[in-house]
Symmetry: T
Subunit: 73 residues, 12 copies
């Protein structure tokens, strides 16, 4: 890719979930999207949420993110 050439990207919204933290939830979502979509270029975090277990600990982080990838011509 070089700047100035016409090209198209698509953005898809996914939610990664992990109990190990925010970066782990992002990586989980990016890895999954990487396998099913075309090659990813970047991601943008939209929202950070999570679930709380009965004992008051954060049982998982849920990160809503958009992942972007270039569409082939």
């Amino acid at each position: 890719m070089s700047y100035g050439e016409d090209r198209i990207y698509k953005k898809v919204e996914v939610i990664g979930v992990s109990k190990r933290g925010i970066e782990a939830a992002i990586q989980a979502a990016v890895s999954k999207a990487h396998r099913t979509l075309e090659k990813l270029s970047w991601f943008e975090v939209q929202d950070i949420r999570g679930h709380v277990a009965d004992d008051g600990t954060v049982s998982e982080y849920q990160v809503v993110l958009k992942v972007a990838f270039q569409l082939k011509e």
Copy 2:
């Protein structure tokens, strides 16, 4: 599904249209998405709009919503 397990959801933006009201427009969009996507989990209303007929009655409600479903590993 149980909390704490790594998993991924995807969100897709659809617009349901119905003359019977807002809930009917939501249900129309959810039913259609349910048939073509994987099993849906939840929806989030983004916008409520509508068309007005020549006699000044609301001829249809257009509800923009995001529907979310879990991606299989």
Copy 3:
């Protein structure tokens, strides 16, 4: 299509890139989406960005837009 009939639209987020200006970037994204998705109905601009070359000229416009198309029953 006539107003008052139940129907469903889907919106997809794409980024068009062109060095020739904002309208060209929009048209590039719309043309590409038209070939790969079902027939498009409308678009909505979300963001306008761009890259700057080493000599300080705008080397390309990047227009983030949502494109919408009717889902077939």
Copy 4:
């Protein structure tokens, strides 16, 4: 009207109020606007609010919406 012709629309912000529900409040606002403005084309809901009576029931729904109509040349 056909797409591609130059034309102008105007949007006006109104609030419809009804005790019978959200769609009734929308229809009330649209009907009133239809009589005093030029022919309406569509509406967009901005906010949904309401008043609570002393016994804890919702005594009315207040729906803020924008209504749009084409200006004659």
Copy 5:
């Protein structure tokens, strides 16, 4: 109450859930808040969401709203 007198209101964020529709979910939240808080004055809808059952029907509406009530001196 008359306008022009100093007074204070408080707003609390609640989520009403009902399978019967949006107005029912609002009324459920307002009724509950009315019993546990001081007398409510109004509500403002923040978000409309919902859950989808396995057969693709909307199994419940979840309406996030702010309810407001006057604080006693």
Copy 6:
């Protein structure tokens, strides 16, 4: 007016300007709107801006606000 009766309000966006401060700019806009529109009910501040004179003093406050009034049946 009593709650529970169907009725319609309209909102209009105006900008009041005054060198005497924010409340004075609001009052200026409200007074002017009161004379030309139907009887006003309330206002909502949208933006507060201002102009700076050559000596670095604020020469005027510009307050963008929406004013609302009930439409007669």
Copy 7:
């Protein structure tokens, strides 16, 4: 007009439509508003949208903008 004098502006929301591009749609809306409203001072773009023809070309640009003009005392 000179800064520091009390004065009032009004803003009105219009949508200009043109197949020739974004600037043409803005100019169309401004020209029309100029003829029917009092003398305009400035405009602010709110949204850029458009319609797509059956062959995948952008058949028109729809620019939502606010136009502002000074109210006479």
Copy 8:
């Protein structure tokens, strides 16, 4: 309090009302919250609104604000 120690704050949303101006409405809300909640630390203005009397004067300012206070361990 010193920076770097774990601690928790809570934010509560209140509306102060006063006919004497915006700062007076803020102070009214802060004073009331100070008496009923734990010791306040800061406030953030969310919205400025007001009521207009029959003669076109602003009869009261209504300032929506969030007040924050540290929770005791």
Copy 9:
């Protein structure tokens, strides 16, 4: 809890502070809220801020979040 039953949740806004990172600040706020409120269900991050020490290191992370819990009937 099962979907489709009427029930009510409340959301409260808290700020967790920790020098150990963003997840630690979230867990601190969730733990504290868990002890003083009814059983928490989930959290939503609103803002991430922090304080900078004199030597240019981040001395603490301040995470504004909403925590939600089900109200008992």
Copy 10:
């Protein structure tokens, strides 16, 4: 300056603090920016916050604003 000539402005974000009220905090920020930056043209209020003293009085107003000034060619 006359409209229609190419020119460039820059906006800078500052926070003015004063115990005397919102306008005083704005003027403080504008005066300081006027001395260190080039000649200011206008300001835009972004946020209004403040600190509360131990006795429940507002000890200072903190106004976040953007100030704009023309860059010399």
Copy 11:
């Protein structure tokens, strides 16, 4: 530059003004920023506004944009 290396960018907010259109206003702002700041990488459009001449023509476009450039170590 290669991805994965620690580095820092700064964003500055400027307003480009041109009577020739939106792209010309963007290029004007980018060119000016390029001369006075370090080498620019990209821009993001924040707002599009403009001035209207007495004859109802758009006399200039004012584009508010953020320009970003890498800070040298």
Copy 12:
């Protein structure tokens, strides 16, 4: 510094980049800003983004943040 004294802060927008995670990207931006600007007081995260490598791993986190520092009189 003590509350109640007139003083001025400035906010600057920077982007920190690090492959080690979100906190590392924040600390990188804060450290760099600390060396080139006056002494920082706090930061506010605006956006979290990142780049994805060819093998689907997050190759770097890009955190957009505003850093604030007090201007000397």
